[in-house]
């Protein structure tokens, strides 16, 4: 019943996206494992892992879009939820190393032995069990977002103030995770993973499976987000985005709606982080960098916020550009990224999807609603 409800919540474009993702989850691993290397359709393990990374970014972008595009909350700290999910996964992977570390301690990860710690800190307990770790991947970002949102939305911190304190949140976490005595490996983070669920993490089969998991999880996230925004709840969210005070005066408990979508979005970001870590092979505090969170926002803006397909396109396109530029013309990349921020905000308020819509229908969809929301949340200017 739930499945049919979820599927029915998709529009034509949504079904296409989900279908494409499922197809990718089948074809790309097949192209890696089954097609011989000489064949033109062969997908190298490098390309497979790279694409898998893009898909986790896309899930992060989708979570940012859910709060920004549909509820008008510009988070400059979603990277924090992404990184927390990643750290939860990283802790599980660290515990799986067991006695194969450099110091061969059966319980303690290498960095703890190096710091001369005698026993496991309490918050590391349980991470040797996969189910517990996977639960924490969702729970830790979720609870943090719930507390943060509960405090902020209740006291009606909105607009740029909220953006700035989300940035302060991720900055505080960045500083905290850099500390060695926090017990998360400090500057170096967590790395040198060996196994995931008993399978060697470097093996082509595992990598293919991780790619498929990323694609399917993105599809699932897309379906859930679609169900949310197309429900009555979603209409209220858009109403909050466009006229928060008016929605409140009509009688909706604005902070409850915001808190729900904010927490859901953080959980999605956490899952994205958890899928990112085993594919990249490392998690360190730089993921908490405020700059990383702002980059995630620009993926959404490039693709088109307020559409569900936009963030997917934006995340993949921008990151493909990043990979290409940093390989060919590394010094040009920051110029290109900076120009992207400027050009998109000035000329493409609805992103690539808006551009496509205009090309297809011959006229732009009205953008008034987006502007109105900002003005409402904004300053005296």
């Amino acid at each position: 019943m739930i499945t049919s409800f979820l599927i029915n919540s998709l529009d034509r474009r949504g079904r296409f996206v989900v279908g494409l993702l499922v197809l990718l989850a089948l074809l790309v691993p097949a192209g890696n494992l089954l097609v011989p290397e000489a064949n033109a359709f062969h997908v190298s393990t490098y390309q497979l892992t790279l694409c898998g990374k893009y898909l986790t970014y896309a899930l992060l972008a989708l979570s940012v879009d859910l709060v920004w595009g549909y509820c008008g909350i510009l988070s400059l700290g979603h990277g924090a939820f992404f990184a927390l999910g990643g750290y939860a996964m990283g802790m599980y992977l660290m515990r799986q190393i067991g006695a194969r570390g450099v110091y061969a301690d059966p319980v303690l990860p290498d960095f703890m032995v190096f710091l001369n710690w005698k026993e496991l800190p309490w918050f590391w307990h349980g991470f040797d069990m996969a189910w517990y770790a996977f639960l924490m991947v969702m729970l830790v970002p979720g609870v943090l977002a719930f507390l943060f949102g509960w405090l902020s939305f209740r006291s009606r911190v909105t607009g740029v103030y909220l953006s700035i304190i989300t940035q302060a949140l991720t900055y505080a976490l960045l500083l905290a995770f850099f500390r060695n005595d926090m017990g998360f490996g400090g500057n170096n983070g967590l790395t040198d993973f060996k196994d995931i669920l008993g399978f060697p993490i470097q093996a082509p089969g595992t990598r293919a499976a991780l790619f498929a998991a990323s694609a399917l999880m993105l599809a699932l996230g897309f379906v859930v987000a679609s169900a949310v925004v197309r429900s009555k709840l979603g209409k209220v969210l858009v109403a909050i985005r466009d006229a928060e005070s008016r929605t409140r005066f009509i009688g909706y408990r604005v902070e409850h709606y915001k808190l729900f979508v904010w927490t859901l979005s953080a959980v999605m970001a956490g899952i994205a982080g958890a899928l990112y870590v085993p594919q990249v092979g490392i998690i360190n505090p730089s993921e908490f960098d405020p700059a990383a969170s702002i980059e995630a926002v620009i993926w959404v803006a490039v693709g088109g916020r307020g559409t569900l397909i936009g963030p997917l396109i934006g995340a993949v396109a921008v990151n493909f550009g990043k990979t290409w530029f940093t390989g060919v013309l590394p010094e040009v990349w920051l110029y290109a990224l900076g120009a992207l921020f400027v050009v998109v905000t000035l000329f493409l308020p609805r992103g690539l999807v808006g551009l496509w819509d205009r090309a297809v229908t011959g006229r732009a969809k009205p953008v008034k609603d987006v502007d109105g929301s900002e003005r409402q949340a904004g300053e005296a200017a």
């Binding site: 740029v160 304190i165 302060a168 620009i298 010094e331 308020p349």
Partner: protein, 538 residues
């Protein structure tokens, strides 16, 4: 200690200051006493040292000091003692009494005068006692401190003599403390010891605390008095520590203030979120670097004024960059603060990369002019000139800005546009021009901050990144649109940060502060000094 002793000797010899009571005795009287040092046996040497010290001759400290350094040698043939300096395979000998050159001698013909710890102590206290009578109060004070560290009962008579002759209260207190430590180490009666602890407590330096801590575990009246005295000194030193941290806090607060005032204009007054604000600071710092390099190359005489010359250059560079950004990007985004935020972030990336391409990614060195280097002590508080100037500079910039806003035509128009744009336009104010100038002013002030920061921070393309979040915190905490709030916010955060640091460590202190600000904003979403009225919600 050896440094202090050398200092004392240097002062006596180079400045030609004769010790107050030191008469030079005849060479013929001094020579046999010096020769006695090398006559063999530690007991004899110790006796000889006391004998030499008793002469009060101003050549004795040098002789004893070189003895301590192991540079005194005996000629085996006649038992005469010389200063020996290595010269190739041989040693160059100098007569310690007359200073006459006694030629070269091979190593085999010489024997070093042996020194052990007992002898070293005797040397230290003898030199200390001798320099206690110096005519320079600084030398006397360091001599007293040297005696205090050695805590040798043998120095008591010399100290008594010096105390009786001493006229400077400060130095006298140091001598009393030294006498007290010497007494405490001796086998004097308990009552005298308790009294001497009181004298040490009055003096109250870190050394005194270190010395007393050796007695806090002792039994009886001495132990108790020592514990009490140590506690008293500790609490006094703690007050100085708090004073020092307050100073550091003010210094950090002034840096935050400088970085944040410009933001208080662009964000607080105009409502523009300028994420490239930190890059304006960076531009100011690089302008300073460029000006200083030019001065170094073409007019090296003007180097001391380079920062003053850089001030207008940095202001104009950043202000022009700001006006350019406002005219080309920000003016299309008024009323859409979140878009402004993203666009200016893009600008900040471009500026960083541009500076990296022009100047390279490495840190650039901006020199200190002579009037900004060095430091002085205020009680137990160390004050560096750089920090003092930056505090004064920050206050000057702040007051100038207040004056511009309150007293000039431009300031009046700025406030008018902020409060009611349509009305301002209706009465004939050219609002686009005012927008550009306001943004230019805010950016220019960031450039001025760059001049100051170039003195204490690394001038690199990432300079601005480190300040942007802190600056936003200051402005939001102080209350948007309120310059006095920015001042209070910057100083509060600076001082709170530095007072937390000794307990929590630098990083944890900062985290605590960030979390505290996040919670504070929940309580007062508009900051410490919120603007009231309709303009706020519009």
């Amino acid at each position: 200690m050896s440094f202090l002793r050398l200092l004392a000797i240097w002062a006596i010899l180079i400045l030609g200051l004769q010790p107050a009571l030191a008469d030079r005795i005849a060479d013929a009287d001094l020579a046999p006493r010096v020769a006695a040092l090398g006559s063999g046996g530690f007991d004899a040497a110790e006796q000889a040292i006391a004998d030499l010290a008793g002469t009060g001759d101003d050549r004795v400290p040098t002789i004893l000091d070189r003895l301590g350094e192991g540079e005194l040698m005996v000629r085996k043939t006649d038992g005469a003692v010389f200063f020996a300096e290595k010269a190739g395979k041989d040693f160059r000998l100098t007569d310690p009494v007359t200073g006459a050159d006694a030629g070269l001698a091979p190593k085999a013909t010489l024997e070093k005068v042996k020194v052990n710890n007992r002898i070293r102590r005797a040397i230290a206290s003898a030199v200390g006692a001798l320099t206690l009578m110096s005519s320079d109060p600084v030398v006397r004070r360091s001599a007293a401190e040297a005696v205090m560290k050695s805590a040798d009962a043998a120095a008591i008579p010399a100290l008594d003599k010096a105390i009786a002759a001493e006229t400077v209260a400060d130095v006298r207190a140091a001598m009393m403390a030294a006498r007290a430590t010497a007494l405490l180490a001796s086998d004097a009666p308990e009552a005298d010891k308790v009294a001497s602890i009181a004298a040490i407590a009055d003096f109250g330096s870190r050394d005194a605390l270190g010395f007393l801590s050796g007695y806090t575990t002792a039994d009886g009246a001495v132990g108790e008095a020592a514990r009490k005295a140590a506690a008293a000194i500790e609490s006094r030193l703690m007050l100085w520590d708090i004073g020092q941290n307050l100073w550091y806090g003010l210094s950090l607060g002034s840096v935050l203030l400088l970085a944040a005032i410009g933001l208080a204009i662009t964000f607080g007054v105009m409502g523009v979120i300028n994420m490239a604000h930190g890059e304006m600071v960076m531009l100011g710092a690089y302008a300073t670097f460029t000006v200083q390099e030019a001065i170094r190359t073409f007019w090296p005489d003007l180097f001391d004024y380079s920062l003053l010359i850089a001030l207008p250059a940095a202001f104009l560079t950043a202000a022009l960059a700001g006006i350019l950004i406002e005219r080309s990007i920000i003016r299309w985004l008024y009323g859409r603060p979140l878009e402004t935020l993203l666009a200016t972030w893009g600008v900040s990336l471009i500026l960083q990369q541009a500076v990296r391409s022009l100047y390279g990614a490495n840190n650039r060195e901006v020199g200190n002019p002579s009037w900004m280097s060095g430091s002085f002590a205020l009680g137990d508080i160390q004050v560096t000139w750089t920090r003092l100037w930056i505090i004064l500079f920050a206050l000057a910039v702040f007051l100038t800005l207040i004056a511009v806003l309150k007293r000039t035509r431009l300031g009046l128009e700025m406030r008018a546009v902020t409060q009611n744009r349509q009305m301002a336009a209706a009465v004939g104010i050219r609002t686009p021009l005012v927008d550009a100038l306001t943004f230019g002013l805010g950016s220019g002030i960031a450039g001025l901050a760059g001049v100051a920061l170039s003195q204490i921070d690394n001038v690199s393309p990432n300079l601005g990144r480190g300040y942007i979040i802190d600056s936003f915190m200051v402005v939001v905490f102080g209350g948007v649109g309120n310059l006095w709030g920015t001042l209070v916010g910057a100083l509060t955060l600076g001082v709170a940060n530095k007072l937390l640091e000794p307990y929590a460590g630098a990083v944890l202190g900062k985290i605590i502060l960030l979390v505290a600000i996040i919670l504070f904003i929940q309580k007062r979403p508009r900051g410490l000094f919120a603007l009231k009225g309709r303009a706020v919600e519009a």
